[in-house]
């Protein structure tokens, strides 16, 4: 589902964020991406989202080579990728419902369809009763779950998360990891960037480890 072939990403002139990265994630696989701060985790996720373009090598998502993708096609790729960030990127000028509805709105879904799917996603993360609230009224863990609901509301085949448990306590982190596991069980490819070693140990899943932009572990064939 996600494939990197000899991917190098150089910012500016000399700073290399990723070096010759190779790996392949299958459909329905849940993997962690770890490494020290500045190792290149966020850069790798941005390449999948086409927020950045690789300097060399090939990024392939869902069989589509992203290198040759024209600019105006980028939005259609992003509709197939859900993303969750540490800073939840929720909009505080609208309700929880309207936040979660955004991916459907950009696709031009009908109001009935939107209502049904937003409620399904909110139900999944256990926030159905808070759809009319402003995200500002929610706790950090709840906000993160709203972000997850938004990421999965249009049932994307790929889900990326960048430090999704960064400032949550272990119990809430475990809840969120449980959600990610459930998504992978229904066929979603999930890649979670985190430096929370305890969490990774607890989950016991495939782990891609970056060090100074090089993939030093987990790049081989998946453990399945």
């Amino acid at each position: 589902m996600i494939e990197f072939r000899q991917v190098t990403k150089r910012y500016d002139s000399d700073h290399t964020a990723l070096r010759h990265v190779n790996f392949h994630l299958d459909r329905g696989e849940l993997a962690f991406l770890t490494g020290h701060s500045g190792a290149g985790k966020s850069t790798l996720l941005k390449l999948v989202m086409v927020m950045e373009r690789p300097t060399a090598g090939e990024v392939i998502v869902g069989g589509q080579k992203l290198n040759s993708l024209p600019r105006r096609q980028i939005p259609y790729i992003r509709r197939h990728i859900g993303v969750v960030f540490q800073n939840h990127q929720l909009l505080f000028d609208r309700t929880v419902f309207d936040n979660v509805a955004m991916p459907l709105e950009v696709m031009g879904a009908s109001p009935e369809d939107t209502g049904r799917r937003v409620r399904a996603a909110l139900d999944k993360v256990g926030l159905l009763s808070k759809e009319k609230m402003n995200p500002m009224q929610l706790s950090g863990g709840e906000q993160q779950r709203v972000g997850i609901a938004r990421a999965v509301v249009n049932k994307p085949p790929v889900l990326l998360a960048d430090e999704p448990t960064g400032n949550l306590d272990p119990e809430l982190s475990a809840d969120i990891m449980h959600l990610f596991t459930q998504f992978s069980q229904v066929g979603v490819t999930v890649l979670v960037a985190t430096h929370d070693i305890a969490l990774i140990h607890a989950m016991n899943r495939r782990t891609l480890t970056l060090n100074q932009g090089e993939l030093v572990a987990g790049g081989g064939v998946s453990g399945h």
Binding site: L45, K46, P75, I77, Q89, L91, P103
Partner: protein, 334 residues
Amino acid sequence: MATDSRQKPDGQRGANRARSVMGDQARSYLGHHRKVARDSMQRLWASPVASAMTWAVMGVALALPVALLLLLSSLQGVSAGWESTARITAYLDLDLPLSDARNVAREIGADGRVMTVQLVERDQALEEFRASSGLNEALDFLEENPLPHTLLVTPEDGARSADGVQALVTFVEKLRGVDQVQVDLGWLQRLNAMTDILARAVWALALLLGGAVILVIGNTVRLAIESRRDEILVAKLVGGTDAFVRRPFLYTGAWFGLGGGIVAWLLIQISLWWLSGPIERLAGLYRSEFTLQGPGVDGALALIIVAMLLGWLGAWVAVKRHLDDIEPGDIAGG
């Protein structure tokens, strides 16, 4: 027969379903436009003072050239009205006998461009002059009548343009026995030249102010874009196309245009109402048919549509310059 009757509704149902899917898409697309249009209008209402200022600036900038254009077309109406009363006066040679004068009159009257020719005999002219000038006694000292026979020529409708009258004058001047030809064409030409210059000046002004309107709206929309940066980032992140992200701002520009157009129309109507009394009096003094024409319904509609287009264009400029730059690359965190 049974199969027939079953197949037919089936086929129809399939077609209906296909059509209703397309219909759903079109409906939700239109619904989205309606929602965005309503939202961006509500945002303008939500900050009434700022919006009203923009409308006022735009209204003034639009009202000025439009008012001048209206004045211009009224002036052109005046010169057209004047042409309809244009008359050529031909003074014949002083020593021309009356019979020859009659021949010249007939010759001019035979021309297709001439409606009527009136011969004023020199004795008759002197009598009229005597009566109207009050120089009765002074004229008695003259040994001879100083006035020539005079022809008053009224052109046909078709020859009443400035050029037509000029051609007729040239024709009459060249006739034997004609000494001098006079026409108030000089005035006509001056008025026409003035309206020509004025027209160019007004169009130049209209272009300049139109440009200013585009810049003002562009700047206002730029601020709107800045204040909605987060929303734009998220929309792009979840797969919003450029068209989707631009749409609210283009509507915002169009709504600014609508408000500006309405303000411009109000300003023009108020000015017309305010000026109508004095202009009527002035026109009365000159026995002129001059009236200041309002824009009318068509003109008002055209004004508002042009204003909306300008607003939309201003928004487009801002969107092109500032919105496409906003890329979600920097929000993922490090």
